[in-house]
Symmetry: C2
Subunit: 136 residues, 2 copies
DNA sequence: TCATCTGTAATTAAAATTATTACAGTACAA
DNA sequence: TTGTACTGTAATAATTTTAATTACAGATGA
């Protein structure tokens, strides 16, 4: 799996820590220590979910799109999630085998159950809860 | 993330479906549709956890190492798990930034919580439960 | 109209995953 | 005791995924 969730959380934490201010992708990138274009790309996705707002042009930048009390970590997870948490094998089981024929459906069902339990867990935590752990 | 969990479940399901019999890595590989050497490698790991037993030499092969009622899916998960379910970013946050300095610890804590909730979910399912879903 | 930012795509580089090949070691059986 | 058919394991190559880099059009304010 990749580090999209961590990157997203880092961005949101930064924005929450400086409410009202417009942070640039370069500033954010230097805190995370990744490329500014990646920050913009990641934000481009989070913006679709309303989590972040942006302003173009000179003196542009990024701010929270929603108050931190209203952002559940499950929302962040859903926004960045591409693969089931249990992973995803890329093999195509042999349909001539009785097990191979049925296993994908059963594994998919299980993967869904696990993803649901992750979401239920993350539903109990807001961005504000997470941010509150930081000491400045 | 990778497909190790799915591969492990596929192997265990095959072994459980033909109790007492010794299945070869080639047979297993053909059901999963991957390379036999990978099957042996994956089993090599599962064997460390007692989940699978093997017999070398001619007419060798693999069988269950434990009765399916005693194998929790959380055991399988733990055996194959290498990364936290939330993923793992490979950046090194900037220690000169107040957020960058603290965030790794908080994200790691969160990742642990999520992993725990996955394990708790998978603890409720045995391999026997999983196998029972198959119709032969 | 210039400077500084976002938005986005294209390309390259790096890392992780899976496949393949090879072969030593083990056990059974003729 | 020799051949056969497996496992166990490592080394290497191929593929896929992820992240970095570069580039530039478009927006906005001074």
């Amino acid at each position: 799996m990749n580090g999209q969730f961590q990157i997203a959380m880092h961005i949101l934490t930064l924005l929450d820590a400086q409410p009202g201010e417009l942070l640039s992708s370069e500033y954010i990138a230097s805190s995370i220590n990744i490329n500014p274009a990646l920050v913009r790309k990641e934000i481009s996705n989070l913006r679709k979910y309303g989590l972040i707002a942006s302003k173009e042009g000179k003196a542009g930048g990024y701010t929270m799109g929603l108050s931190p009390e209203k952002i559940l970590l499950s929302d962040v997870y859903k926004a960045v999630k591409v693969q089931p948490a249990l992973g995803q094998a890329k093999n195509k089981p042999n349909p001539a085998c009785p097990v191979g024929k049925q296993i994908s459906a059963h594994l998919d069902f299980l993967a869904d159950e696990v993803d649901t339990s992750i979401i239920n867990k993350l539903k109990t935590i807001t961005l504000a809860n997470f941010s509150a752990k930081f000491e400045y």
